[in-house]
């Protein structure tokens, strides 16, 4: 399907999400279910990746800052700003595109192929509202939380490895974390997290919801959802950085 057809179809699918729910209680239940699926389901991988990112960043920054006149606390400053502005939001969201995005696309694709979506439609349920909206809203709430947690864990990992490897004392690391801290960087991280969450959930839902064919197409749409999400995350990352951090 050509790019503009996909774009038009994506907009129509997203527009269709906004309708009055048939039963608010059922939609709330589905929203909470998605929060658990996306949040708790991705927690282990987010924690592991974040910790190692922080650890590697500390060692690598120490390796590159060889001049004696640069204070050691600069390592913490570099690690903090790198994690906050780029690594946590972008790397974790690229990982989430794989974990959450493929799950959303394959779940909806399977529902489409096995006529479960048709069954809901015939019952009189707006399937876009019931199936897509809770996933998008849950992502918008949960992904920024995961990114916040990722930032904290990565800094903790960096602090831990700095002390354990004898690179930087914990007290100096803590001083560095507070030095020249700009709260606006947190805003940038959250803007990225929310944008990436919207991209991951809506693109994956679009590809899954509109699957045609059989089991093979579910796999294809799932892969396509991850690839397109990753590309658009990187593109959005560049645009947001350009808008918010352009000196």
């Amino acid at each position: 399907m050509p790019l503009f057809e996909h774009l038009g179809s994506y907009i129509i699918t997203m527009k269709g999400m906004f309708a009055r729910p048939e039963n608010e209680k059922m939609y709330w239940k589905e929203f909470m279910h998605q929060c658990v699926e996306i949040g708790i389901g991705s927690l282990p991988i987010v924690l592991i990746i974040s910790m190692f990112l922080g650890m590697v960043m500390t060692v690598q920054t120490a390796y590159q800052l060889v001049a004696n006149f640069i204070p050691l606390s600069t390592i913490a400053v570099v690690v903090r700003d790198s994690m906050l502005l780029e690594l946590s939001p972008t790397v974790i969201c690229v990982v989430l595109a794989g974990v959450v995005g493929s799950k959303i696309a394959s779940e909806l694709g399977n529902m489409r192929i096995s006529e479960q979506i048709d069954a809901l439609e015939i019952m009189g349920i707006n399937t876009k509202t019931y199936l897509i909206l809770p996933k998008v809203l849950a992502s918008l709430i949960v992904v920024p939380m995961l990114i916040t947690l990722s930032i904290v864990i990565s800094l903790w990992g960096g602090r831990f490895v700095g002390e354990a490897a004898g690179i930087i004392n914990s007290t100096i690391f803590d001083e560095g974390l507070l030095r020249d801290f700009n709260p606006f960087n947190v805003t940038v991280a959250m803007v990225k997290a929310v944008t990436f969450a919207l991209l991951i959930s809506s693109i994956s839902a679009y590809f899954g919801y509109n699957v045609k064919g059989g089991a093979l197409e579910i796999g294809r749409s799932s892969t396509l959802a991850v690839v397109v999400s990753c590309i658009l995350i990187l593109l959005a990352d560049y645009v947001i950085t350009l808008i918010l951090l352009n000196p």
């Binding site: 048939e22 039963n23 059922m26 399977n110 096995s114 006529e115 479960q116 048709d118 069954a119 439609e121 015939i122 019952m123 009189g124 349920i125």
Partner: protein, 267 residues
């Protein structure tokens, strides 16, 4: 009653349904039969509103579904139950949750009331001790019965069954057919069944619509089929020598005459 008037449907250049008019009666098993690609699945999807016709009317008790607003269509759909070819049960839910889903969505009853109703319908389709099982843990025939239970839990006026016997052994197929027939008579539903199964046609076909390459080729009852002289219908229904013999025997039973003799006037 559901009435179709001059329904046409095309996909791109290809016309799938040509000027179809038909009536589907309440309290009867209305069968849509035809070879693969004859347009019967498209016709069923039009009837339940999954597709929209290019022209023509789909009248539910005189109200044209095509002209209905989104809200009106939503209300109508709550009067429709559908059994899908693959049952279309929700994988992540147990049998009980599957059947309770329409009640959860469209009623404000207490959990106890809903559970009572779920057990009633599961009992009605002869399913016991399966409430807590997942669709993956039950047989194909049981899935069909869960599908029927879910379709009838809101007491629909219209019941649609898409290939209810596909993938089932002949014995289970007969059980499903009998169940559909009994429910149709018991609740006076307008039941529309899309099938390939000739046994179903001859057992429960109260009102049969035979489709051929997107056209309405023949209509009648299961008795009329025996005496039909329509070549396309005969070659579809009585495709094998065995079925031809069965037809001849049925004709002999009904009229005392061998085939080839003058058919009754209603054929």
């Amino acid at each position: 009653m559901i009435k179709l008037q001059n329904i046409k449907k095309s996909f791109g250049e290809r016309t799938v349904l040509h000027d179809i008019s038909a009536e589907f009666l309440p309290g009867k098993c209305n069968l849509i039969i035809g070879t693969s690609g004859s347009g019967k699945t498209v016709l069923m999807k039009l009837l339940v509103g999954l597709f929209t016709p290019d022209s023509g009317q789909i009248l539910y008790h005189g109200d044209d579904m095509v002209q209905m607003s989104r809200e009106e269509r939503k209300e109508l759909r709550q009067q429709i139950g559908m059994l899908f070819q693959g049952s279309a049960l929700f994988d992540s839910m147990t049998v009980e949750q599957n059947v309770m889903f329409p009640l959860d969505m469209f009623t404000k009853d207490s959990y106890a009331t809903k559970l009572k109703r779920v057990n009633e319908v599961l009992d009605r389709v002869n399913l016991k001790d399966t409430n807590k099982k997942y669709p993956a843990e039950i047989s194909g025939g049981m899935k069909k019965r869960v599908g029927i239970a879910r379709a009838i839990v809101l007491n629909p006026q219209y019941l649609f069954c898409d290939e209810p016997n596909s993938g089932l052994d002949p014995q289970t197929s007969m059980v499903i057919d009998k169940l559909i027939k009994d429910l149709t008579v018991e609740f006076n539903t307008t039941t529309i069944i899309n099938t390939h199964d000739m046994n179903s046609v001859m057992e429960i076909g109260d009102n049969i619509l035979y489709m051929y390459q997107g056209y309405k080729q023949w209509t009648g009852t299961k008795e009329d089929i025996i005496f039909s002289t329509d070549e396309k219908l005969n070659s579809f229904i009585f495709a094998s020598e065995f079925l031809q013999d069965a037809k001849n025997m049925r004709m002999l039973e009904m009229t005392g005459k061998y085939p080839g003799q003058t058919p009754p006037t209603n054929a």
